[in-house]
């Protein structure tokens, strides 16, 4: 065994990779609950790729066959229902995991110097994930798929000058049809997953370059022992691999509960109107997006002007990109030492939850004022951060990790 390893190591840095990224990668010793979600995101990504490959074995990307091929998977393909439900549930769980992972970054200032690029790569992963989810949403070609596809491509069409050309590029025809399904499948199954894979590698590389942040927001690499290793660090393997496996166990239990007992979650994970085949001549009573995009949709609808609404939508998505430069607290990163910033994050999360709920309701004038308040508070978070972070009261930050 050791001779085989030596043979490989002379030709490929296998042992060195394991050493540098696992057994001698020193992570802060105080990781808590919030640090499960990075490895869980990796797990869901792998699960989506594997289930996706098996779905591709049966799915037919054409306007006349797509919907029926999904029914074939559900009823005629052996275990097809399980593979499809794992894929649809995985999509929603991907967003749950990613949102908690992003919230961790907000809480502990993980986007701050020197982790700006780590944050930005993660942000691009999130944007790719939204595109991936959208393309996947259209493929089953139910009536929500059709009208969701129609609404989003018409948002592309609202871009000045090149909009209608871009929309026709996206659709490949006058409406959402066979040409659209084929190109969306190419994006969903090849282009975006390949991009995501590369970005995930870049994300992990950047993480291992800067080292992980931690709940205290203190750099452990500033306190090295005589052996040159961080005093407050422990090797990722075995300590955090074991911790992450515990997280995987809990995660798989939650996933199984949904897959086996409530795969549609009452129209939340799979929308009810998507059990009706696509019909270009009939709109569902309410075109509402999947839950994970609902806050943005509520923002879009809160603006009475169509072009301005789309601009606000793009700004809302882009705002977190700039977070590393908006937060300017010179003394502390983590909420543990920043009570005002903590309150701001709590308000931000509350806004997004309320906006998400509004985005899934039928459009009604009664919901406009709360949607506009939520929208204003969302942008106020980013707009006020540069000023608040400089003057906010900051508790004394300890030198070493508290534990």
């Amino acid at each position: 065994m050791s001779r085989v390893l030596a043979w490989i190591d002379r030709r490929f840095p296998l042992s060195r990779l394991i050493r540098e990224s696992m057994t001698e990668y020193y992570a802060p010793k105080n990781f808590n609950f919030w640090y499960f979600f990075g490895s869980l995101a990796l797990l869901v990504f792998a699960m989506q790729v594997i289930t996706g490959i098996f779905l591709l074995a049966h799915y037919q990307p054409s306007a006349s066959k797509a919907f029926d091929s999904i029914q074939t998977i559900m009823y005629d393909v052996k275990w097809g229902w399980l593979i499809r439900y794992l894929h649809t549930t995985g999509a929603s769980f991907f967003f749950i995991v990613i949102y908690l992972h992003m919230l961790r970054g907000y809480l502990y200032g993980s986007y701050r110097k020197p982790r700006e690029l780590l944050w930005i790569v993660g942000f691009v992963i999130y944007v790719c994930l939204m595109a991936e989810a959208y393309f996947g949403y259209v493929l089953p070609f139910g009536n929500m798929s059709y009208w969701g596809g129609e609404v989003i491509t018409s948002i592309v069409g609202a871009i000045p000058y090149a909009g209608s050309w871009l929309a026709s590029l996206a659709r490949g025809g006058f409406g959402i049809g066979t040409a659209t399904l084929n190109r969306f499948m190419a994006f969903h199954a090849v282009l975006v997953p390949a991009l995501l894979g590369l970005l995930v590698v870049a994300h992990v590389l950047a993480l291992h370059e800067t080292g992980s942040n931690n709940p205290d927001g203190i750099e452990i690499r500033e306190h090295l022992g005589p052996d040159g290793k961080p005093l407050d660090g422990i090797p990722f393997h075995p300590y955090y691999t074991v911790k992450d496996i515990m997280g995987v166990g809990v995660f798989l239990i939650a996933l199984s509960l949904v897959v086996f007992y409530a795969p549609t979650v009452h129209g939340l994970f799979i929308e009810t109107y998507n059990y009706i085949p696509a019909n270009p001549l009939q709109t569902p009573p309410d075109v509402t997006p999947a839950w994970y995009l609902a806050p943005y949709y509520a923002m879009l609808r809160a603006i009475p002007d169509k072009k301005l609404g789309i601009l606000v939508l793009f700004l809302a998505i882009a705002a977190p990109f700039f977070l590393p430069w908006l937060d300017r607290n010179p003394r502390a990163k983590s909420i543990r030492y920043r009570p005002v910033y903590l309150a701001m994050v709590v308000v931000l999360v509350a806004c997004l939850l309320v906006l998400g709920w509004i985005g899934m309701q039928p459009a009604s004038p009664a919901l406009l004022p709360p949607a506009r308040i939520g929208l204003a508070l969302y942008f106020l978070f980013f707009a006020s951060l540069p000023f608040v972070s400089r003057i906010e009261p900051t508790r004394p930050v300890p030198d070493r990790l508290r534990m």
Binding site: L169, A179, L281, P285, V287
Partner: protein, 179 residues
Amino acid sequence: MVGALGCAGLAVPFVKSLEPDASVAAAATTVADLTGIAPGMQMTLSWQDKPVIIVHRTPEMIASLKEVEPQLADPNCTVPQQPPYAKNIYRSIKPEWLVMVRVCTHLCCIPLFKPAPGSVEPGWDGGFHCPCHGSLYDLSGRVYKNVPAPRNMAIPEYRFVDGGKKVEITAMYPEAKLC
């Protein structure tokens, strides 16, 4: 520099390949037979994957177009939602025939055809009612005031063929916006 230009040039066929292909262009026009549509009736057909409604308006329906004008946002059709030859209160070439893309200009829903007076609300003169967000249009597809939809519904380019027995819907009027 030259290499970058070469790459940009090479991208052209790849991007162009994503444009609608010849079969889509071939299916771009639709001919509808008008002989089966009695006065007061409508027919909705699929043209370029969009619903197009053809309404055979009765003299009463045509008369209602004048009456509703005070309630309309753009009664004189100043927003170019129709070809110049349909820029009149009938929004059509012949007053009795309305040919219109039946897509609400608000969020792309398909409005219901409600020709009977009083069928949507008391005092209703007949027209279109969008079930999604409540936008109202008259029997020419002109939008009411104080509803979510911003514009009149779009009129495509069309012409009468076969001595007026058929209508050929040829193209989307370029300046018209759907939703």
